[in-house]
Symmetry: C2
Subunit: 512 residues, 2 copies
Amino acid sequence: MSKLLKKIIAATAISAIVLTAVFMNLNKNSTSVAAESPKAATAAITAAPKYVFLFIGDGMSYPQIQAASDYLGAVAQRRDSDILTGNKYLNFMKFPVAGSAVTYDSTSFCPDSASTATSLSTGYKTYSGTINMDETNTITYETISEKLKKQLGYKIGIISTVNLNHATPAAFYAHQASRNNYYAIGLEMIQSNFEYFAGGALKNVTGDDETKPQADLYELAEQNGYKVIKTQDEASRLTAADGKTIVIGETLADSGSLSYAKDAKANEWKLKDYVKKGIEVLDNDTGFFMMIEGGKIDWACHANDAGSTIADTIALDEAVDEALKFYYRHPSQTLILVTGDHETGGLTIGYAGTDYDTYLTNLTNQKLSYAKFDSDYVKGYKENKTPFKDVLADVKKNFGLLTQYNRTADANSKLVLTAYEYDLLKAAYNKTMSAGSTERNQEEYILYGNYEPLTVTITHILNNKSGINFSTFAHTSLPVGVFAKGEGAALFEGYYDNTEIYDNLANLLKVK
Amino acid sequence: MSKLLKKIIAATAISAIVLTAVFMNLNKNSTSVAAESPKAATAAITAAPKYVFLFIGDGMSYPQIQAASDYLGAVAQRRDSDILTGNKYLNFMKFPVAGSAVTYDSTSFCPDSASTATSLSTGYKTYSGTINMDETNTITYETISEKLKKQLGYKIGIISTVNLNHATPAAFYAHQASRNNYYAIGLEMIQSNFEYFAGGALKNVTGDDETKPQADLYELAEQNGYKVIKTQDEASRLTAADGKTIVIGETLADSGSLSYAKDAKANEWKLKDYVKKGIEVLDNDTGFFMMIEGGKIDWACHANDAGSTIADTIALDEAVDEALKFYYRHPSQTLILVTGDHETGGLTIGYAGTDYDTYLTNLTNQKLSYAKFDSDYVKGYKENKTPFKDVLADVKKNFGLLTQYNRTADANSKLVLTAYEYDLLKAAYNKTMSAGSTERNQEEYILYGNYEPLTVTITHILNNKSGINFSTFAHTSLPVGVFAKGEGAALFEGYYDNTEIYDNLANLLKVK
């Protein structure tokens, strides 16, 4: 039996197999297609799912997924047993198909979110920073979401924990030479007429150049028929009858994004709440496509904050659970895909200083994200020239890290700073408090990236004492997992180029 | 359609579907089985493959695979194009099924090769360091290879680039509380009566206690009917008619292992040659099972030597190609599995100092493995108190790294040491040349592990300048890829516990 036939059989109910066509992707821009990819041929099958969820964990690959899974296992481990009982599987890890996608773009093996989301939404490679345009910035690519709306009449939902005109969500409706054209991206968002946007605030809402303010994007959205909602109360009352809607989080955090899962208040809407509401307003007999981005997994990994990475990965999985509830009501008509765009941070569960051991429960001591520590604490330290001793008290309170001076007799010794670690933290404090705190020589850049030296050193030390490490403040070339469940899931088996995620989706959904 | 049925359909030709039985793994040691694993139920199908290849890249997970793939792509990249053409797929990356297996053992999320190979060969978790026994060291587990020999009469081949009584090969025939019982493991190897062993020399061939020598294992092997071969000439003339055979590499390297692929001479037998010969001598109408370990991927990763890691990963893939040639002659009767036991080194393609860039072609300048540099150069430096200037000349010759003093005007500037890197190298040289060179404080342990400071700093700098980093000298918790092609391949889809690799194999092959 051919591989093609196997894929089709696994992707459809046997009784419903009707082969209609086999599309070979021959018409693609030849400069931007991988010649080597092992799955160049894909198949159209008859049973196109009506309801498609595409979850993208920005910066989420195997390390982020396994770290969250191991963390949950470590927290649940029985203390009275010497036998490790292992990880707890996230919902999407249990999907029947778990393939891998290669993420390089036309610029680098370590690609960015604009180009990789372009690959997912259009099937093309392009340069880092570019959204749905080719390498010459002359050809514009139509996205899977635009095609589904135009060709099949599917309703479209775009949800992100970061700004709705940030690279990943933008790649489903915008076409720009630069991801930094936030205002132009916002205009395209408004013109998309997609039914449901939800997440972080629009960036550069009155233009990219502060000195030349332009019309407010929210006002333009309303003029174009969008209902713009900025409170949870209004959001909770939203129904499909309200028409096209943009829902902005009531509580906003760094750069206008939604809060890190670790920082969110109990009653604050989380990613799963926006997905649940999205299902309510988008559900219809023709079909819908929903892209849901866990955007702050990436931000946490950039900052090398393992605790926040894990919490936001779990939050993404809780959002997947909402899609699963819908799936169980429409199992033969629904496809759920969960993937990442690239890996961020070079996260490893394992560190030179801890050898074969991990101490993942140490991370339970982290009470807030690096970003909230920056805004709620470090800003004040700089203004008030707070002495190191007082900073250490906050480090103890918020991250559980102790020193020989402020530890108690019964404290977890794995959380007590060694002399080496103490010196690293003191040097970082000095750098943060110094006049030239943003300047970096090579050693400092490797240690701190462009982050606040004090904060990133705190998370580095807590990560390392937990048995976790990051190797970069940027992205890496690790493939991402592609988890699939439902109608057509088997198309996503194997190890292939990320452009094939689009190819398979387009063929499955029969859009061109 | 149920997940189970889907798996069966995808695993067999439709016309041949005969459901014979569904085995639920209910009888396993309850203390050592993951409760959470999403694929507890597996299926027996009718068409059991006659010929099974199980390739294990020791320490090989997604980072090692993608690094080799990206490296091949970087080397092949056209210099006159600004558009990156991406990675080159290894043979096994193109397999139709590429799942993931979780590797934790009863000791740690960062498990060792003894326990993980136990999981692959018996379906049980156990403590790190233990081979095919339970956590109390009272229950002995029979291995897949023993069962196949005993129950089905399959011929068995065990091949490794490291010592044949090292943990991974041992886990297919031995049962020992400690992987360090090399002599006892060697005795079990001889008693296994497996048809074909090939690879590195036996370790502790006259006993684990040098002061109490015991009978030579090779002599005992010959007494038990094994033909022991130690030259390539004899190996090349070996046929099935020679009976049970142990083939030891003619050229041996560190610890009696086969050479790193990077160090092997042109006419020296490589892993693929031992596989090719194995196919010749094991091929028979009843069936065979061959386990092939790329053991030095792990050793190279422990030492944070990216160049050797990549070369040995490619060498493993070349060995897979031999299995593929056999597969194409017996496509409906062959199953090829390629997996790892765990990830080693926390390898990342991406590094804090290089941001979104990689310079993988820098690695082409590495002429030998860290181990060969240790033996051929560093040993002499210590004896001769070689000055740093002369060492730098060797570093230039063997790794391509230059200094401001010995660079030429047209040299690749990406290979010139910065002041920061020069200082790191000088400090490492001083440490290597010092009286207390094997003592380590915390900072030194993080920098050097237990490796030669000079050598590991050279590879660190070359790695980092290539855009690669390692985060540990030990193992990590990253899942491993499970690549499957041939009869029953679809059973290995998804993200599941490593014990299920055994479960699926045993059910597929109908052994108990």
